[in-house]
Symmetry: C2
Subunit: 359 residues, 2 copies
């Protein structure tokens, strides 16, 4: 899932995302809450309409940004006090408020408000953090169930026109009329805490499940170990989402393990810094060796950038601080990431005899 922090996948127009085959993009609740504000987006009919993206959308809970962008935050059992990184103004997020904001934004998938446990965290710290996440998951779900009819498009959208990814995850027709809410498994790097969290969340019966608190600085073997330990505890018939990963080989590996959804700023952020992912490995387009290189960024790629532009031109755009640099680099990296997932889907579909690899 390409990340569209402020209601835009940075530097890429929506029609380009469509032609790349992006089926779902993310919005960040924290950023959209601060600007333009969730009530403004609600009044404009929700995030789909505001950003002109008639496909699937997912919003995070805001928790990750509240924790990562705020050195002065104060956490209580009730919620988190924090200051805006934009203007220093004071705000208070609770599970209920996160859900209220996410309902106003109206993405197809909302996330429970959680605390992303830092790495490293010793066992008492991980246990305390998990206690908070589980209490907040319950409160998120209760608030969501009580208010899910308040989504801005509730009366506007016919079930058949809901995005396929959401239809597939919601068995009952009437469920199409509201958003989905996913729970988030935390527990640091402790397998038994992960198990405890997963079992509790499954009992609460969310619409889907995420594994959070990974890719926060731990070695990759540990990331893999936690996913391997947690994934089997989550229902196969509901979406299983690993948050914040990863490199191209990682997302392929996790997808083959059974992970249905992943998001990461890596392809888009790296692109803006000149790092391109290719079938031949990583390529830093700023390098002088590409100054007169007429070959495409990735000779094996047929994206709209590789079909038209040379490494030399992309390097020139980067060296010249031209806006087109970010756009073209990002388009290629997204095409590369989406291509990996498309091939994984196709190979899984052919292995299972499924006629429609997109479903």
């Amino acid at each position: 899932m390409p990340v569209g922090t402020q209601g835009t996948v940075k530097a890429v127009p929506q029609d380009t995302l469509e032609s790349l085959g992006a089926q779902i993009i993310l919005g960040n609740t924290y950023h959209l809450y601060l600007r333009p504000g969730h009530e403004a987006i609600r009044r404009m009919g929700g995030l789909h309409k505001f950003i002109s993206w008639p496909h699937a959308l997912l919003t995070d809970s805001g928790g990750f940004q509240v924790f990562s962008l705020n050195e002065l935050r104060k956490v209580t059992d009730d919620g988190v006090h924090f200051r805006s990184h934009l203007d220093g103004s004071s705000h208070f997020f609770t599970p209920e408020h996160s859900i209220e904001v996410q309902i106003a934004l109206g993405a197809d998938v909302c996330m429970a408000f959680d605390e992303c446990t830092e790495y490293p965290a010793n066992r008492p710290r991980a246990e305390e953090s998990l206690r908070l996440t589980m209490a907040w998951a319950r409160r998120s779900l209760d608030h969501f169930r009580a208010h899910s009819q308040e989504v801005p498009w509730h009366e506007l959208v016919a079930p058949a026109s809901r995005p396929a990814v959401v239809r597939a995850s919601t068995p009952a027709p009437e469920a199409h009329q509201t958003q989905s809410l996913f729970g988030i498994v935390q527990g640091g790097m402790y397998r038994d805490l992960r198990r405890q969290c997963a079992e509790s969340l499954v009992e609460m019966d969310f619409d889907g499940y995420a594994i959070g608190g990974l890719s926060v600085g731990e070695p990759r073997e540990l990331t893999l170990e936690m996913i391997a330990a947690t994934l089997p505890l989550l229902p196969r018939d509901k979406p299983r989402y690993v948050m914040g990963v990863g490199y191209p080989d990682e997302i392929e590996q996790y997808a083959r393990m059974g992970v249905d959804m992943m998001d990461c700023v890596l392809p888009t952020r790296a692109a803006r810094h000149g790092l391109l992912f290719t079938s031949e490995g990583r390529l830093n387009i700023k390098n002088k060796q590409y100054a007169e290189d007429p070959s495409p960024p990735d000779p094996a790629c047929d994206c709209m950038v590789c079909r038209r532009y040379s490494r030399a031109y992309l390097r020139h755009l980067m060296q010249s601080s031209e806006a087109l640099s970010g756009t073209l680099n990002t388009i290629h990296n997204l095409a590369f990431y989406l291509g990996i997932m498309r091939r994984v889907r196709e190979s899984l579909a052919s292995a299972s005899g499924n006629a429609d690899p997109k479903s």
Copy 2:
């Protein structure tokens, strides 16, 4: 003609320019000479190939930037000493060197090296400046005629595949094999100096003629007066180009007077600052009044931006300093400008009974 200073119309991919119907774009010789360097572009086959623009291209002479970006320049009869705005390095541009650089870049249309007379300029100053421009025009033309076969694509391109705008301006088939060179009429705001310059240039027999030294701070009536006085002195059967104009109503007015080509950074630069040109006038998308405005930037426009995005979204992108802001604003402004010229062409074609308004 959209301006593509550093080999990119800022923030807009080439395929989008094509879908907007842009037939020709500009490159700035000064910028491309400094970075990535004209010899590098020559080695890569010329600017068309380097930036992947298989349509018409025009390069200016570099003179305008040498004069406007350099406070420490030193002008002699031979040429101009200047320092790079990038790294302070010393450079010397002569008419011969400007043409040499432009041949290496290989645009379809090159411009003679001139001095853009400042405004206001008293008569002795305008006469002295004009003397320089006319001597430099002669030297530009002589150097061009002696070296035009050195264009990087000279052996590569079949005449039939040259862009239509160039084919139309070059009567003899063998002329298709090289670039075109336009002379530039200067003369300050003195009609007789303009006449003297125009007549001398026409006698030299350039492939096309530009009127330069306008839109440099003079009142608009004076711009109009100079164009009206100069245009009839230039051959109707060769392209007539007014440099550096202008606002939407200006370009329509000048086109109806018989001007064939114009360039201006206004639509692209203004877009990046949030100023949109619309059928209802100018619109500053930053204004708070658009914060929740669901209407398109220009309700009468059917460009890809107006068909998909609201003023509220464009304002949000601008307020959030998102890269997509520059891209979408620029696409709309270019669509608006190109739409004006398309309608002028159509109305001139229907008035003259010409079946093909594009020619």
